[in-house]
């Protein structure tokens, strides 16, 4: 069985992510890392591998600038078998539409893939649409946003927690799956894993290797455009009171009444 797990290199959310002058996310000047939400996908890929006797190859796939290879390396340290990094200057500024195209072509090049596994969203763009777009492009079923996933012979079942119901969704492989942060704690790379990762294959593809024309990707052909980005003025702290013998509750109710919430 072949599993491809898509991983994204994102700006560290605790390091003040920001925009560049062309309104794209600054992916070079801000420290980055493997998106935390993709670690859950790596974990589930490894659990699918460990849950079967058959031969399973887990390939970590990323699209992004040079430093994005760090996201793949982290996945290799966690236990993925090999890595693929699609890197091409023309990709910079790509929207989800173009990113899903590049990912789909890379999945096709990797070949005979049974499961494409993704996280629930990236922690930067946070659109949550790439898994669905990948399924659309690859013509595969999607079993997405699983809080739990399980293999049943040639099928994958996912529990999907919605607002009105909790559903179980099932599809036959090959398919695209995604998992939420409820799917199970992601493992930390062990020292052994970190050492082993250094010897694992990590291939770099250009757009040409995938048969994607540079004119199909990048900021200039994006199907939507960001016109302005404005830093929100920080909220200024309001009145803070210390509760002493019930004074806090009284002050709180007075405040709510003054704002007409009561």
């Amino acid at each position: 069985m072949n599993i491809v797990v898509c991983v994204k290199y994102v700006p560290d959310a605790t390091a003040d992510p920001r925009f560049e002058s062309d309104n794209t996310v600054d992916r070079v000047g801000v420290d980055g890392l493997l998106s935390e939400l993709d670690e859950y996908a790596v974990e589930q890929a490894l659990q699918l591998k460990e849950g079967t006797e058959e031969e399973v190859t887990v390939t970590a796939l990323t699209v992004g600038p040079e430093k994005a290879a760090d996201a793949v390396r982290k996945a290799l340290q966690m236990g993925a078998d090999q890595g693929v990094h699609v890197s091409d200057e023309a990709i910079a500024g790509s929207d989800a539409i173009a990113t899903s195209l590049v990912l789909a072509k890379a999945v096709e090049k990797i070949g005979s893939v049974d499961v494409v596994l993704c996280g629930m969203a990236s922690t930067d763009g946070a659109m949550s649409v790439v898994p669905a777009m990948l399924a659309e492009r690859l013509g595969l079923p999607q079993v997405t946003l699983g809080s739990r996933i399980e293999r049943k012979e040639n099928q994958i079942a996912a529990q999907r927690d919605g607002d009105v119901s909790t559903d179980v969704v099932i599809g036959a492989m090959p398919l695209v799956a995604s998992v939420t942060d409820q799917s199970g704690e992601a493992r930390y790379p062990s020292f052994k894993g970190i050492m082993a990762a250094k010897k694992k294959p990590l291939e770099t593809y250009s757009l040409g290797d995938l048969g994607v024309d540079a004119g199909q990707v990048g900021l200039s052909v994006a199907w939507s455009t960001v016109e302005t980005t404005t830093e929100r003025p920080p909220r200024t702290a309001g009145e803070i009171v210390k509760d002493e013998d019930g004074s806090g509750a009284t002050a709180l109710v007075e405040f709510l009444a003054s704002k007409k919430f009561i």
């Binding site: 649409v129 595969l140 999607q142 942060d181 199907w223 929100r232 909220r235 803070i240 509760d243």
Partner: protein
């Protein structure tokens, strides 16, 4: 005037409030047309409700071949309606499924997509709140039919009768779209409280509750509010994930947000920072949540909340 398609979010024919908000937004851009995918017997009632909130046209698509499958068939239906109607824009509620439908639809139609808009102007310019609410972004779709998913509470629903002309639409669902089947569905028990994402007031609890949410719930009920929880409270198993507010849960933007025993980590702030008024109760005066609040009480939520609840009840 061009039509603007609004995908109707409903439970068994009962239209959910965010759909009415989308109709109000659609009216700014063009002529609102609701797309109702559901049981034929539920269509008439739904169409009446949709007309009351401004739908000029209601496309009714029988869901016999749609229900029981995830996402893909609905995207096919919308594609076919869009190809017939050539709308000026397509609006979908920013729910998990709504965004996935929008993603597939964007590829099918060769159209740009903007998700999680908190406002949409008459010319289609969207406003989004990104990076944990630290930036406001204005964007516009430049290719194809703009597909925009809009967060609940982004506009006020407007009563104002539309013609509500019902048009039966028969869609063809491909076998490929039926690859992911829903094999079991357990309805969530109604809490009797407002929906978290739609509520005007949200009262939430975190680690500081110690697992006892009774005083949080009582205050919520006194204020007619929804109950929310921080990730710490959800990870501890005190509340279900559907009530989680933050980066990996719900994003809420109510008129009033009351955070109790929540420190205010970046992940949580991402889900509530755009609330109009923020109030916090926390024992730790150093808690970062106090940097955001309009009003804060440094104190034990287990004594402050019951006293406040009693006082609110007394004033009613």
């Amino acid at each position: 005037m061009s039509e603007v398609l609004v995908l109707v979010d409903h439970v068994d024919g009962a239209v959910r409030k965010p759909t009415y908000e989308l109709l109000a937004i659609a009216k700014r851009i063009g002529s609102p047309s609701a797309v109702f995918i559901g049981g034929a017997d539920k269509a008439e009632g739904a169409a009446g409700d949709l007309a009351k909130f401004g739908a000029e046209k209601v496309y009714v698509v029988d869901d016999a071949e749609v229900k029981g499958f995830l996402v893909a068939p609905k995207a096919e239906v919308l594609q076919q309606v869009a190809e017939a109607a050539s709308p000026a824009a397509i609006l979908i509620v920013s729910s998990a499924e709504g965004k996935e439908i929008a993603g597939r639809l964007a590829i099918k139609l060769g159209s740009g997509l903007i998700t999680d808009a908190v406002d949409v102007a008459a010319d289609g310019t969207t406003t989004q709140s990104v990076f944990a609410g630290n930036y406001t972004v204005q964007a516009k779709v430049t290719t194809g039919t703009p597909i925009i998913t809009v967060k609940p509470n982004s506009a006020a629903a407007e009563e104002g009768a539309g013609a509500g002309t019902v048009e039966q639409f028969s869609a063809t669902i491909s076998d490929a779209a039926k690859g992911a089947r829903i094999v079991a569905s357990n309805p969530r028990q109604a809490s009797g409280r407002p929906e978290l994402a739609e509520a005007a007031i949200v009262v939430s609890g975190g680690r500081g509750t110690g697992g006892d949410f009774s005083s949080v719930e009582s205050l919520a009920d006194a204020l007619g509010a929804a109950v929310g929880a921080s990730r710490a409270a959800v990870d501890s198993g005190w509340q279900p994930h559907t009530l989680q507010i933050g980066q990996t849960g719900k994003t809420v933007s109510p008129q009033l947000y009351v955070a109790n025993g929540i420190s205010g980590a970046i992940q949580h702030r991402a889900g509530m920072q755009t609330s109009k008024t923020i109030v916090a109760v926390n024992k730790d005066e150093e808690a970062p949540i106090f940097e955001l609040v309009d009003f804060g009480v440094v104190g034990d939520l287990h004594s402050v909340l019951p006293a406040a609840t009693a006082e609110i009840e007394k004033r009613k």
